[in-house]
Symmetry: C2
Subunit: 331 residues, 2 copies
């Protein structure tokens, strides 16, 4: 149905208002699961992204998505400029435009930074439910940046027997800061600082790596450190992992084959990919099987998808309208 004032005005939501809309971690898990289900069932439209690169090592990505079941339609335009610390600015930025699916007119412009930070670990978390051993007790978290923090925040929700999260980052102070900030919120899980990749990976049932994505990988994690039956989520592609680990995985999944092909086309994943068991959405949708035995090595490599963004964005828009949040701008 065409909403009131479509074509006349548009809602603007800053990051503060996006957060104020009030979706919590459980909502995000559920929305990401919803988006993955639609993706796995092929009930969506999401051409693979295109981008600009105004400076060396920078990227600006156009990520449109249309998910009919949630009437979620729009585009995320997100940027990553690693040298922004020189200007005292975060490296990632981004806006989302949501559109009325009946008329095409834009209905909302909203911050996309918070959504990106939240939905990426949510995909890992949903994947854990289907791909990690049910008795997993130890997580190894590599990278203590924004993604590391959000992963540590979220994983206790989906790993019922979780006892420890071991955390490693090349900057020791990032580890201590993460632990002092988040330990109080997770009294039943011990957050443990590590001094090496090896210490983090050995004995971990689930390993997540969220460092920089490198076009020339620098594998640092030795295959022999990996525990039998582990689930691995390399949010940073093949940057840290040995190719033979990818190759020997019993099941190798991605979120979007289209997106992986895009990234291969622009110079990432130089070794290609092993045989793909499924897109994670197909598992969430029940169309492909997840973990079957306790000794399988399962790897799910996700990059994040526009369909996740627009489904979450649309929910935030609906809540903002309901609560009267944001600024109404004339068109």
């Amino acid at each position: 149905m065409v909403k009131r004032n479509v074509g006349k005005e548009i809602l603007y939501l800053t990051q503060d208002k996006v957060i104020e809309a009030g979706i919590n971690d459980d909502d995000i898990l559920q929305l990401v699961k919803a988006a993955l289900t639609e993706h796995g069932s092929k009930k969506y439209e999401m051409p693979s992204k295109i981008g600009l690169h105004p400076r060396e090592n920078t990227l600006m990505h156009a990520m449109p998505g249309w998910v009919p079941a949630y009437d979620a339609c729009g585009i995320k335009w997100a940027e990553c400029f690693p040298d922004n610390y020189k200007y005292n600015l975060p490296q990632t930025s981004g806006l989302m435009i949501l559109n009325c699916s009946e008329t095409g007119w834009p209905i909302c412009i909203l911050d996309a930074i918070w959504i990106t930070a939240k939905r990426t670990p949510a995909v890992t978390a949903v994947a854990c439910e289907y791909l990690a051993r049910k008795d997993s007790e130890i997580v190894g978290m590599i990278g203590a940046g924004i993604q590391g923090r959000e992963h540590v925040n979220l994983l206790p929700k989906v790993i019922p027997n979780l006892k420890k999260i071991k955390i490693y980052d090349r900057f020791e102070e990032s580890i201590s800061k993460l632990i002092s900030d988040l330990q109080p919120k997770h009294p039943n899980v011990e957050l443990i600082p590590c001094k090496s990749f090896e210490e983090t990976v050995r004995g971990s049932d689930v390993v997540v790596s969220a460092t920089a994505i490198l076009s020339k990988p620098e594998p640092q994690i030795k295959d022999e450190w990996i525990k039998e039956g582990a689930f691995i989520a390399p949010v940073d592609f093949d940057s840290l992992w040995e190719w033979k680990t990818f190759k020997r995985a019993d099941k190798f999944l991605v979120d979007s084959l289209d997106e992986m092909n895009y990234f291969m086309g622009v110079g990432y994943l130089a070794n290609g990919l092993p045989d793909i068991h499924a897109e994670i959405g197909e598992v969430v949708a029940g169309l492909k099987v997840g973990r079957e035995t306790d000794d399988e090595l399962i790897i799910d490599m996700n990059i994040g998808m526009g369909v996740e963004d627009v489904v979450i964005g649309k929910k935030i828009y609906d809540l903002a309208i309901e609560k009267g949040l944001g600024l109404s701008l004339p068109l």
Copy 2:
């Protein structure tokens, strides 16, 4: 240089403010020429567009562009929903986001409808300068919608000996409205209503067609009606033209081969394209030759490019900042 308040706030410009910024037809011709020169010289980044199609026959297109010489960087997100008349809304809508090329942060959100309406005929007009006979006196304009109006407005600026514009549309009242609106602005050019394609095309030195773009062309314009030495600008692809006209052209140009390949990939231009003489930008940049003799049939088929949009958008942004226009929004 990173501008004041980048990463903290963003300028919002409605269509009114975009117009109030004050760029006129001459500015637009000059800016489009600048964008074409950079495009022809390959000093730009513009991946071919991607899109969504939430309803039958609708489209939403993501068009990023980066033109270093003008520090113009951003994306146009534009929609066309032909059934919008049912909701009393124009069929085309669109916003542009401009970004700081040094940090990636968004600096401006602005209406893109006005820019699209203006820059499309400007490309035809610039093409006329290089590809039409210098002594052209008669233009045939097919289609009296927004594009038809803007073409009639602009072409007298670039065709020095222009005496008549013959105008045809399947809706007779669109023709009379266009003529009664625009004749007073162009006292030296006679605007003539036509009753058929044939009447419009026969004897015209320049023919522009700007009707709907059809995936299944319905050629209506007979090849034998075309005057020797004519210049043809089919803004609506092959929808109205016989393939043999395209095939026998002495020079056939497009604005962007990448874009044409995109459209062929999604089902347009089913007959393909004849040999391409040049991209129009290459001619504007002086890298390829334009019209050489008076008897050449020259066709230039343009779809519009993101590089044109961002160069114009950036100029509007600069003027708006200078004049203190628009609303400053927090991020």
